[in-house]
Symmetry: D2
Subunit: 254 residues, 4 copies
Amino acid sequence: MIKVTVWNEFVQENDESWPERRDQMREVHPNGIHETLKAILEEDEELQVRTVTMDMPECGLTQDVLNDTDVLVWWAHVAHDRVPWEIAERVNDHVLRGMGFIALHSAHPSRPLQRLLGTSGSLKWREGDFCRVWNTCPTHPITEGIPEYFELEEEEMYGEFFDIPKPDDVVFISWFSGGEVFRSGCTWTRGYGKIFYFQPGHETNRSYYNPYVRKILKNAVHWANPTKRIEKIEFPFAEVSPEKKRMESKKNNQ
Amino acid sequence: MIKVTVWNEFVQENDESWPERRDQMREVHPNGIHETLKAILEEDEELQVRTVTMDMPECGLTQDVLNDTDVLVWWAHVAHDRVPWEIAERVNDHVLRGMGFIALHSAHPSRPLQRLLGTSGSLKWREGDFCRVWNTCPTHPITEGIPEYFELEEEEMYGEFFDIPKPDDVVFISWFSGGEVFRSGCTWTRGYGKIFYFQPGHETNRSYYNPYVRKILKNAVHWANPTKRIEKIEFPFAEVSPEKKRMESKKNNQ
Amino acid sequence: MIKVTVWNEFVQENDESWPERRDQMREVHPNGIHETLKAILEEDEELQVRTVTMDMPECGLTQDVLNDTDVLVWWAHVAHDRVPWEIAERVNDHVLRGMGFIALHSAHPSRPLQRLLGTSGSLKWREGDFCRVWNTCPTHPITEGIPEYFELEEEEMYGEFFDIPKPDDVVFISWFSGGEVFRSGCTWTRGYGKIFYFQPGHETNRSYYNPYVRKILKNAVHWANPTKRIEKIEFPFAEVSPEKKRMESKKNNQ
Amino acid sequence: MIKVTVWNEFVQENDESWPERRDQMREVHPNGIHETLKAILEEDEELQVRTVTMDMPECGLTQDVLNDTDVLVWWAHVAHDRVPWEIAERVNDHVLRGMGFIALHSAHPSRPLQRLLGTSGSLKWREGDFCRVWNTCPTHPITEGIPEYFELEEEEMYGEFFDIPKPDDVVFISWFSGGEVFRSGCTWTRGYGKIFYFQPGHETNRSYYNPYVRKILKNAVHWANPTKRIEKIEFPFAEVSPEKKRMESKKNNQ
């Protein structure tokens, strides 16, 4: 059983100041985008999923919750700066010790991802393009069951130059009808933890109902599930190699 | 002319609470380790070097200083947590916009490097080993003039597992007489900026008087000198491709 | 069930012209080094192992054998140039289509590995060193169950500069008592196939009886087992995107 | 002065069996595509350019020519299998010893590139698309003077999945109007040599008259110019470290 925590800022779904967007988003994600994501992941019986939102104490990410999380999934858009850096720091610590981290769509400049990658996540954008997602790593576990490409009728265009560290693998590259390309599925390792960024998921589009996107999300959780976790990051003093002492003592005894 | 700023925490050189260490360090670095580094870099007439220390306002790293810096060299050991995260953030911003950053020896867990790389920089350590530095990238600009290996009579052992992101290039791997290995020269790119970490430089050892270490420091500054700098990190809205419009208008006119 | 084929040049075991070496090698590997390797892999019930040797027709690597092989393990030392390039080419084709390939010890300049990597595999060498193998990828599947380092009482020293393409992961770095370091466990992907090079295994040393080496060999076979295989490498003509046609036809109907 | 050799198979320019193609190609490249490329590179006064073609003895690539070449530029399309593997092997040897190698457009499955990379270079293709080339490494020397993207009115579409080893840098990603993406500018290092693959350059299109393409070709030659060349690839026996002997002798003298 893999324990997944889905984090959502949960702001636009409740935003009285922009009712059109709120209503559009509620139409696609009636209970908030975190519940949409939870429903996807729960299609996989090996995943045990909980959701948390930014309005909870400590943004829902207490030490207890993170200690009980194998993979953290992060959706955010308009409120990155309302997540305290202390929370980003805490997520960073858990990832370095093994927890998986999946950043979705507009989480590209979210604080946890910025803290893990060191880059700004800057990119070009425009709403409402047709998007073709190309599979550029056909043997990667994240692309299991995914064809050479799949199409999203309408997505937000995200385009290069994308300010990210060189990925371990560029799993997907997206083509947008307006003329842009984007490294849309990228993996990194930091410490003992695995990280995946995945572009689809604009709040008013139906990408999370695409069967390939759903499969990728489930694949990614399996891939990011830690093989090893450590209790604490340490800077240990190292004794001189016992072997070296043994070799020297051999020599002295000759 | 490349403008270099050498940053030193400048703590142990003045530490009344540990006079032996202070005196040992002062013996090797009479005017502080930043002045030793400055003297090395000034051997190269293309480098214009200034020094700053942590006790200055804003740790010596005002926007004016950073705007006037092509490459920032960072030496620190005991006072990482006395550098405010705001300063690390500011350094991060300048690196992403093009400034080079060279982290030396015990700067492995310094806040600017942690902020840039996302990892802890944890490693094993022990003072007083013989160290052989192997050149594992003989065509890299940083190894120009460096033989297949060189030796340091006494250095602090830094050993694997070294918690860093996969480097762009592992330029050096060090061998320590006590039985350890260490990826001792590593490069990364973040945004428009280049980053180099280099292991030699324990405060009481004479590594900075080794001619190969001196050559490497000068090579690294040249390598990290920005080819391009940007004013500001932006997330631009992108118009639909004019070409696409042109192609459509062609079609409509047919 | 993973089907493994162990390939051995099987020359030194039978070499009348150097009887000392033959006898030393026969002492460690009574039935040839391929049988030693087979016995290791057969400890794992999921592996079904066959051996082939260079003296067989087509070097034992007929299309039938390769079609029936998930992972090919290659040990060779003195007779690299007696493997026809056609065989290296055939192995290359199977790896690009998904077959795993594990090159052991002195296979570093073997023709199949040269053909897959493009480099010479040149390195420094000396028989009879103490070797410490450091685990530099603690979360990699190949290091499952492997501690931070393990020691080999006597191995051939292989040292940098090692002429290989930048590995996907440097899983191990070896320390030798004579003063050298070596990237001793390296992974690459080529086409649909995974490749692992692993340094231990000099013909007269007992490294293949070390429990960690044995574990690594079994881990590596599991890791290299293909997730996907293709029938044939193709250069397909691509129709214009149906979506593009659909979009254009929409427009024409407006 | 950088010595450049431009190699062209020079087949379609003279092909009586397909006169339309021959004439189209001659219209764009009156003296053969090698002369078009030579003229581009000669705009840069630091480049000294010669051309050779497949019909010359040893395909024009004698040891003398290669010894006198800093960077080899390769254009080929229909006659890959008429270049003997011995020539590919010879080019490989020179690249590993430092010579730069630039493979253009349909050279993706050429034997020298296959021999250097180990992969098939397979991809999707279709003639006659509009192509937008995105700059995904704005600080790379190859993109000096190149904007965030440039456009080619008509090019052959080359699309993913592109079977290549993970590049050191993906310098360009191309967008095609028909719906495809392609890693169109890729760099690798093999031994002491640098390699660049660049997609534009279909025989009947005018891409080599695009000012950005021309700039990139000149930049790439400068980038691939060797910083170091070696005489011969060797597998040297290594003496035990003199330092180790010295340390032991110190100990014995105590």
